[in-house]
């Protein structure tokens, strides 16, 4: 099936000279002139003058509905661990949100349609039934004790509400929930049913489903966030979930006020296993999540492991989490010459010496390394029966280099087939002699060709599907760093250059910024991103330090007041 993240549509036959020159006029910095036209721009900070002034500057901070991942993680963390599988099952029933910028957590597009409201309701019904099956783990009091059932229900509203709302309920809110409980009892239903109605309601409530920062009319134009607000931003940044008890206690004690406090808590949280959830960012950024739609033709790839997509996903997860734990450098992520396999995946790759179900480190035998050359990243947009040089090039150009690929102009002519038995690379080369195609294909194909020695299921090869030698010569264009540009010998050469590039570092920062803020970068956060990039460079490209850095910006700790 068609895969969503880098949907390469018309590119094989259809790109244009039309994109040449369209970009430079409107974008902050045209790319360095390459062999063809310009597509895209580089948002890296390298040549951007320091945008910071004495004044605090921030981007917009819209309310954010929980992504489905955040919904699942929050409930996993807040509810009885025995309910974890029910949470996962119900999370899977939620209608997929509209993707924007490659991610499925866009503040703009995470809306509650009628269908999703129905999904939330059905999920809340199932979860509430499961939650009240054993009241002892849910309700913090004895309904038979002095306060009676009503008192216990009120206590439950206070404690459960504070967890779900990530703050204490207001008096009005408490009264409203008491009303829900009272209605159940007035209807003749028992205490347990009353609690179920409460859980059912809490799980659909705006206080749970939205992260809201409310401003007051007396606030200045830009205000500092409260400790409670910072805790929520911080926990969703690192765990995609609600604050834990330690963080909540730090807030209560006044220990979440300063940047040092944020550093301390962020460091603690990054050491928690929940920090492994950062894989969701890598997965969506590089399209690993679209392995759901991975489909290969059994004639072209006989004997393929039927669980290959799952194995490739786990490999990517293992690789990223090991990098983050052992050596969290972007350069390591992009070019470490090893991977993680179990017996099945080792057999698929033809790696000797690994058997059994345990995932273990394995060194690539040839010139191969980095996250981009993992089977689950490089091949997920390939064709069912062959590699796609163009789609691989698009992945590099748009996701790794943060550049744009233009739409073809209207009225493209039909292209005749290239005659004769030629390789995909040769066929594309002939297309690039057509000026209609060259402008953009010159920007894409040379970034995909270096990987031709890896087949459409990620295995090393020396000849392609048609029996032609797998040639890996390509070209890197579009960076601001002349020493890294030019001919590349193979995929490993390309990713090694990426690993040394400050432009790529800037792109990575941009992608992470988009994911964590749920929006596109803005002028208002230019200073925060500038400082973040400087920090990222100073740390030698340490990703964990970059995440801590995200908590240190003006944009993180402040908000532009947005009154009704």
């Amino acid at each position: 099936m068609f895969s969503p993240r880098a949907p390469v549509i018309f590119l094989v036959v259809a790109l244009l000279g039309g994109c040449e020159g369209q970009i430079a006029a409107v974008l902050p910095r045209p790319i360095v002139a390459g062999t063809g036209g310009g597509i895209g721009h580089n948002p890296g900070p390298i040549e951007i003058p320091n945008p910071c002034t004495d004044a605090v500057s921030v981007g917009s901070a819209p309310i954010r509905r929980l992504s489905h991942l955040e919904y699942g993680y929050s409930l996993t963390d807040l509810l009885d661990p025995a309910l974890a599988s029910t949470v996962r099952a119900q999370q899977a029933t939620l209608l997929a949100d509209s993707v924007s910028l490659g991610f499925n957590n866009s503040a703009t597009f995470l809306q509650v349609s009628n269908l999703l409201a129905n999904n939330y309701m059905d999920a809340a019904e199932q979860l509430s039934i499961a939650a009240v099956a054993d009241l002892t783990n849910l309700v913090p009091c004895d309904a038979n004790a002095a306060g009676g059932e009503a008192g216990c229900a009120r206590q439950f509203i206070g404690s459960f509400g504070a967890k779900l709302y990530r703050r204490a309920l207001s008096a009005d809110e408490t009264t409203a929930y008491v009303g829900v409980y009272d209605k159940a009892r007035a209807g003749g239903y028992d205490f347990k049913t009353g609690i179920q109605w409460l859980v059912f309601t809490f799980l659909q409530s705006p206080g749970f489903l939205y992260r809201v920062e409310v401003d007051a009319a007396t606030d200045p134009v830009i205000r500092k966030l409260t400790g409670e607000e910072l805790a929520v931003r911080l926990s969703f940044l690192i765990w995609q979930s609600a604050p834990d008890q330690a963080l909540t206690q730090a807030v209560a004690a006044g220990y979440l006020e300063t940047r040092e406090d944020l550093t301390r808590e962020a460091t603690r949280m990054l050491a928690d296993p929940k920090a492994d959830r950062s894989f969701d960012f890598f997965s969506q950024w590089l399209g690993v999540d679209s392995l759901d739609a991975f489909e290969r033709d059994p004639t072209s790839f006989p004997g393929l492991n039927p669980g290959l997509a799952g194995l490739l996903r786990t490999e990517a997860q293992q690789y990223v989490s090991h990098v983050m734990r052992d050596d969290p450098k972007l350069s390591t992520l992009l070019s470490a010459q090893h991977t993680y396999v179990n017996g099945e995946l080792a057999a698929h790759y033809g790696l000797a010496g690994v058997t059994g179900t345990t995932w273990q480190k394995a060194t690539w035998p040839g010139r191969r390394g980095g996250v981009l050359m993992l089977g689950g990243v490089l091949t997920q947009k390939d064709k069912p029966s062959r590699t796609s040089i163009v789609r691989r090039g698009v992945l590099m150009r748009t996701q790794v280099m943060c550049q744009l690929v233009s739409a073809p102009p209207p009225g493209l002519p039909s292209l005749e087939d290239v005659a004769g038995n030629v390789s995909q690379a040769e066929r594309l080369a002939q297309h690039r002699t057509d000026s209609m195609c060259a402008g953009c294909h010159n920007q894409l194909d040379p970034l995909g060709m270096p990987f031709e020695n890896l087949d459409a299921v990620g295995r090393a090869r020396t000849v392609d599907e048609g029996g032609h030698p797998s040639l890996t010569a390509g070209e890197l264009t579009g960076l601001s760093e002349p020493q890294l540009q030019g001919a590349v010998s193979d995929g490993f050469d390309l990713v090694s250059r990426y690993a040394r590039s400050s432009d790529i570092r800037g792109c990575f920062t941009t992608q992470l910024y988009r994911f964590t803020t749920g929006r596109k970068e803005e002028q208002g956060d230019a200073c925060s991103r500038y400082q973040l990039n400087k920090r990222f460079a100073a740390s030698g490209g340490d990703i964990k330090d970059l995440i801590i850095g995200l908590t240190q910006t003006d944009d993180f700790s402040n908000r532009r007041v947005a009154l009704p």
Binding site: M1, F2, R5, A6, P7, I9, L11, V13, A14, C19, Q22, P62, I63, R65, T93, L95, A96, V99, S100, L101, N104, T108, F109, Q111, V112, S113, N114, A117, N119, M121, Y177, G179, V180, K183, A184, Y189, T193, F200, T201, Q204, S205, P206, Y210, V214, D292, E295, D297, K383, S385, V394, Q399, Q403, L404, A407, P410, L412, S414, L415, A562, P564
Partner: protein, 450 residues
């Protein structure tokens, strides 16, 4: 089993004889008109649609032969033009993207996708789609329980390439992700309203009602505290809750043909092997929803645009979209086979509608199925020669049993056709709809159809 209607909310409150849209109805008490759009991806082969051309004596090519059995109820439109090339640069995506959004005839916005824009990320279209816009109006004016049905087979991810429904309003990107599970849809539309045992049902309804009261109140309070943009987003949520309230109140219909469906054991809705079975279930749900008058308009999609689904059942090893990029004879043979298969599968919807009795005839007599694609033909990515097949009795609004060659004719824009659909659905007051640049010969319905 019979689905009981919990009250007679609509009909009683929804009709007012002074409203202009009533004029389009054939007679008081006549069954309502319905519309289903059925999408199949990647265009077809323009030159192979017919072996003989002619308004009444046309002969279908093999690719379109599954439609022959419905001939007297067809209005075949050859060479409809989408005119997306007329949108300003930077406000249009490529043919697949913009063409797939053709039910929402508005320019694209910016900000979401790195492929397909000109100088910025391209975005979703900025305006409502036909199914949603008509559905909203009917929801408001007729008090129907549902605004529209919006179904797609497959894809657990929603983006510019597979989103066909949009909420609007004009100027706002508001994609509406489709339902992909007929099982969830069935529960939502029917089974939730008819659980075993009246007391269990009453208890669940009371719980939901009580929660909805609190949730709506909280949303209202929150809306008073946030920016205008955030308030608008919360208003969508509030509207969704109000819709649920109405849906809970309305229940299912009381029409004679309105009976429950027997659903099979759940299937994996993202497993490609279930493609046809899932489509059939959606067709049954659409038919029954029409028979029960829960809704009168539906968008159905066999896939997203650019679908690269591999039709193994047809012996293929390459994806549909990949094949469609190639211009040689072998590729076109395969494209025709895929399209024939999809058209054949789509006629299952015709048969579902024909099987539902209504007012001395069937639901089919009062329905139109609009078969369409994002492109005219895949290898050229052109949008100037689309095939649109209208099928059904359509309440005798259009003159059926005809094939129209629109080449060179005025107002052959898809957007003009959408205005025809508004008129058909009972809204003659709609004389223009969509961005003006998409109707280079002017607004108004497509000539020659009625």
């Amino acid at each position: 089993m019979k689905v009981s209607r919990r009250n007679l909310l609509r009909g009683a409150t929804g009709l007012s004889l002074s409203l202009p849209w009533l004029e389009a109805y054939a007679a008081p008490g006549a069954p309502p008109r319905r519309l289903v759009t059925v999408f199949t991806a990647n265009g077809d082969q323009i030159t192979q649609r017919f072996t003989t051309r002619g308004e009444t004596n046309w002969v279908f090519g093999e690719m379109l032969s599954p439609f022959e059995a419905y001939r007297s109820n067809l209005l075949v439109l050859d060479k409809v033009h989408k005119y997306h090339d007329r949108l300003p640069a930077g406000r249009r995506a490529d043919g697949h993207e913009q063409g797939g959004s053709a039910l929402a005839p508005w320019p694209s916005g910016a900000g979401s996708f790195p492929i397909g824009g000109t100088s910025d990320f391209i975005g979703y279209v900025e305006g409502p789609s036909l199914d949603r816009a008509i559905g909203d109006r009917q929801f408001n004016e007729l008090s129907l329980p549902q605004r529209h049905l919006n179904f797609r087979v497959g894809d657990n991810s929603n983006h510019i390439w597979n989103t066909h429904s949009h909420q609007g309003p004009v100027g706002v990107q508001a994609p509406v992700p489709p339902e992909t599970s007929p099982f969830t849809a069935y529960t939502r539309l029917f089974a939730n309203l008819n659980t075993s045992g009246a007391s269990a049902l009453a208890k669940r309804l009371a719980m939901k009602q009580s929660a909805l009261d609190l949730l709506s109140g909280e949303l209202t309070r929150l809306q008073g505290k946030v920016s205008a943009l955030d308030k608008a987003r919360l208003e969508l949520h509030a509207q969704s809750l109000r819709d649920i309230e109405r849906q809970l109140e309305a229940g299912a219909g009381s029409q004679p043909a309105c009976i429950g469906l027997t659903m099979p054991a759940p299937l994996d809705v993202f497993n490609g092997d279930n493609h046809l079975a899932l489509g059939r279930l959606f067709f049954k749900i659409i038919g029954m929803s029409f028979a029960c008058d829960l809704v009168r308009i539906s968008a159905f999609n066999w896939s997203g645009n650019t679908s690269d689904r591999i039709y193994r059942n047809l012996g293929m090893t390459e994806g549909h979209h990949s094949i469609s990029h190639t211009s040689n004879g072998d590729a076109f043979t395969k494209i025709r086979a895929v399209k024939k298969y999809l058209f054949q599968s789509s006629t299952l919807l015709h048969d579902e509608l024909k099987a539902l009795p209504e007012a001395g005839g069937t639901v089919w007599d009062n329905s139109l199925v609009m078969h369409w694609s994002e492109l005219s033909q895949g290898d050229t990515h052109q949008i100037d020669s689309d095939l649109v097949v209208l099928a059904g009795g359509g309440g005798k609004y259009f003159r059926m049993g005809r094939m129209l060659d629109l080449a060179g004719k005025p107002k052959r824009s898809m957007s003009n056709l959408l205005i025809s659909m508004w008129n058909y659905m009972g809204y003659p007051d709609v004389t223009t709809w969509g961005d003006a640049s998409l109707m280079p010969d002017g607004a108004g319905p497509m000539p020659g159809l009625v």
